[in-house]
């Protein structure tokens, strides 16, 4: 045991009496795609953004990271993806410290999908998904038979086989994000981090992507962690939520567990939260 564990996640989730699980450590040993944050403080030198945070992500679950702008969602994701160092504390992937995993190996453990749109022309969907095989290919990036099989499978999982030979630039935003998710699948990582990956999509596409991610988590056993501003969607589709807020501790739990916490993290005189249907309503 790395640090004190109060309860297993399942026990906590089965216990309906626990309405909020604020800043409760929920580690579980021996999970392939499990991620544990141990008193993690994130930010930039001389400027703390959030923390200390202690929480964990489980394989086979879609977890959404919610919070107002400036709460530190992107910073947390950047830290988890090893794009920037933590100020203090530890991150564990399975049994290993994140900081001790060499970059090449990390690229087979964590895949990412970002908001930014790829504008470059001349890349087909297949080429893009095949980029996910980069960590496995040789110096020249030549795809072996196994790589091609993984690419096909990833496209099938996401349902973009019919686009395989289309140029990325001709796709809609929603289709393009599916391609990037397929890229992350082809990367074969147990963990997929998505930074506001649904931000620019129209509503049906957002729903489709969320359901797709949920399915990938449940069927393929991936650990999927997604930051988003789409509260309603996150509350309806995710298995667990992380709430971040300025000067508020990290809150972790199922949507139902966190129902009473939500208004605190999204304070507005024009919003009221209906915890019976897990929905924010607008007060006029």
């Amino acid at each position: 045991m790395r640090f004190a564990c109060l309860n297993t996640y399942e026990e906590l989730r089965m216990n309906d009496n626990i309405s909020s699980v604020v800043n409760t450590p929920l580690p579980r040993e021996g999970q392939g795609g499990g991620v544990v944050l141990d008193a993690l403080v994130i930010g930039y030198p001389g400027h703390k953004v959030a923390g200390p945070m202690t929480a964990c992500l489980h394989a086979g679950e879609l977890c959404c990271l919610l919070g107002a702008n400036g709460a530190g969602k992107s910073t947390l994701l950047r830290t988890l993806a090893a794009f920037q160092p933590a100020l203090s504390g530890e991150m564990w992937i399975g049994e290993r410290k994140l900081t001790e995993i060499p970059p090449r190996q990390l690229s087979t453990m964590i895949g990412i999908v970002l908001t930014e749109r790829i504008r470059t022309g001349g890349i087909t969907v297949r080429d893009m998904v095949a980029m996910g095989r980069s960590p496995y290919t040789n110096f020249w990036g030549r795809l072996k038979e196994e790589d091609n099989r993984e690419v096909d499978e990833a496209m099938q999982q996401v349902g973009i086989v019919q686009f395989a030979d289309r140029q990325i630039s001709t796709l809609s935003d929603g289709e393009r994000q599916k391609v990037m998710i397929a890229k992350a699948l082809a990367q074969g990582t147990p963990i997929i981090l998505l930074d506001e990956a649904t931000a620019f999509l129209d509503f049906p596409s957002k729903v489709e992507i969320m359901l797709l991610l949920s399915r990938l988590a449940h069927e393929m056993g991936k650990t999927i962690f997604l930051s988003t501003h789409d509260l309603d969607l996150a509350l309806q589709t995710s298995d667990c939520l992380w709430l971040m807020g300025r000067n508020l501790p990290l809150a972790v739990g199922t949507p139902r567990e966190l129902a009473s916490e939500l208004p605190r993290y999204f304070p507005s005189q024009h919003l009221s939260f209906d915890s019976s249907v897990l929905r924010f309503n607008i007060k006029l």
């Binding site: 964590i110 990412i112 930014e116 022309g121 001349g122 890349i123 980029m131 990036g141 990367q187």
Partner: protein, 362 residues
């Protein structure tokens, strides 16, 4: 009708777009061989064309080392003049084009190029410092080998300095257009300094610099040619080693890093390679505009793909062909003299850039 045409187009293109790797590679191979043949034809044409007409059979004899007994001057014209010029155009075009491609991918900016970003101005400034100040009365034609090495080193240092400044600025500037403007400003400052240096220089020095600034593939003599070949080939080989990281960089730094690519190492190698390629071309031929900027787009148009595995060789060959074609055009006036290369390249390059901008707007 429209549907029918689309269907037809789709069917015709199907073999090129097919899911099978070798079929897709087939288009690259086809375009590649066509470009190689075109380059070869233009190379031969460069040897053939000139104010003195020499039959092809005599050129072959001379190149085979059999010489031409009746016309000793032909031997001189081919070996000392036309061959070095053709090889220089071939390598300079390839170097500038590849350097433009590396810059466009590294900065994720379709309008990046060695001259737009001021990198050849940096090399230019380095050369000007050596020719005008350190060398005093040195003029390009009469440089000693040591002085010549100094000119090349100065060009490389100048180019690398500008690249380093750009890389620093690119961390601060999120907007791609801003980076282009920053590059142009760096270029302007370098040009101003070159003009200021002219005040201190001798008349011959200024004359040499002015001639050099117009760009020419004819200033590399046979004995200097091996140096240019060496530097350009080194730069081109380094660029080939960058193919896999370049493809990942198409997705941006964050995605590339997540795919296990070391951004710092890739950027450093990119900086050095682009500097080397631009400096080599600039030191030997003067600053040549538009080839670096326009050629990668022409190559992308031919290939329909941004995959560097096919795009880089295609860019290299297109750059060579275009430089050879420009060189041919420059010798068209025959006995009346030559047209400076920098008069021809914008006429070909500028429309390509306009086309790119129009496509970006869509």
């Amino acid at each position: 009708m429209k549907n029918y045409i689309n269907q037809l187009r789709k069917n015709m293109l199907a073999p090129f777009n097919g899911g099978l790797g070798w079929v897709r590679f087939g288009r690259g191979l086809g375009v590649g061989s066509l470009l190689a043949i075109l380059t070869l034809i233009l190379f031969v044409a460069s040897l053939y064309s000139g104010s003195v007409s020499i039959p092809l059979s005599a050129i072959t004899d001379i190149l085979m080392g059999r010489g031409s007994a009746d016309h000793p001057s032909w031997q001189y014209i081919i070996i000392e003049n036309r061959l070095p010029q053709a090889v220089t155009a071939l390598l300079s075009g390839a170097s500038l084009a590849v350097s433009g491609l590396l810059l466009q991918t590294a900065f994720r900016n379709p309008l990046a190029g060695p001259s737009v970003l001021g990198i050849d101005s940096g090399a230019h400034l380095g050369v000007a410092l050596v020719i005008l100040v350190a060398g005093g009365s040195l003029s390009k034609g009469s440089l000693t080998l040591g002085g010549f090495a100094l000119v090349i080193a100065a060009a490389l240092v100048g180019a690398l300095c500008v690249m380093a400044i750009l890389l620093m600025l690119s961390r601060l500037l999120q907007n791609n257009v801003m980076l282009l403007i920053a590059g142009m400003m760096v270029g302007y400052i370098a040009s101003s300094m070159i003009s200021l240096l002219n005040f201190k220089a001798t008349a011959e020095g200024v004359h040499a610099m002015t001639l050099w600034g117009m760009g020419s593939f004819s200033s590399v003599s046979l004995d200097r040619l091996p140096y240019m070949v060496g530097i350009c080939v080194l730069g081109l080989v380094l660029s080939v080693l960058l193919i896999k990281p370049l493809n990942a960089l198409l997705l941006g730094d964050n995605y590339a890093r997540n795919l296990g690519i070391s951004i710092t190492r890739t950027r450093t190698l990119l900086l050095f390679t682009t500097g080397l390629l631009t400096a080599a071309s600039t030191a030997f031929c003067g600053p040549i505009a538009f080839i670096g900027l326009a050629v990668p787009h022409i190559a992308r148009l031919f290939l329909g793909s941004a995959n560097h595995r096919t795009l880089l060789p295609a860019t290299l060959l297109t750059g060579s062909s275009l430089a050879l074609a420009c060189n041919l055009i420059s010798t068209l006036p025959g006995e009346q003299g030559v047209i400076p290369i920098n008069v021809i390249t914008p006429i070909i390059g500028a429309p390509v850039v306009l086309w790119v901008i129009l496509r970006l707007e869509k």
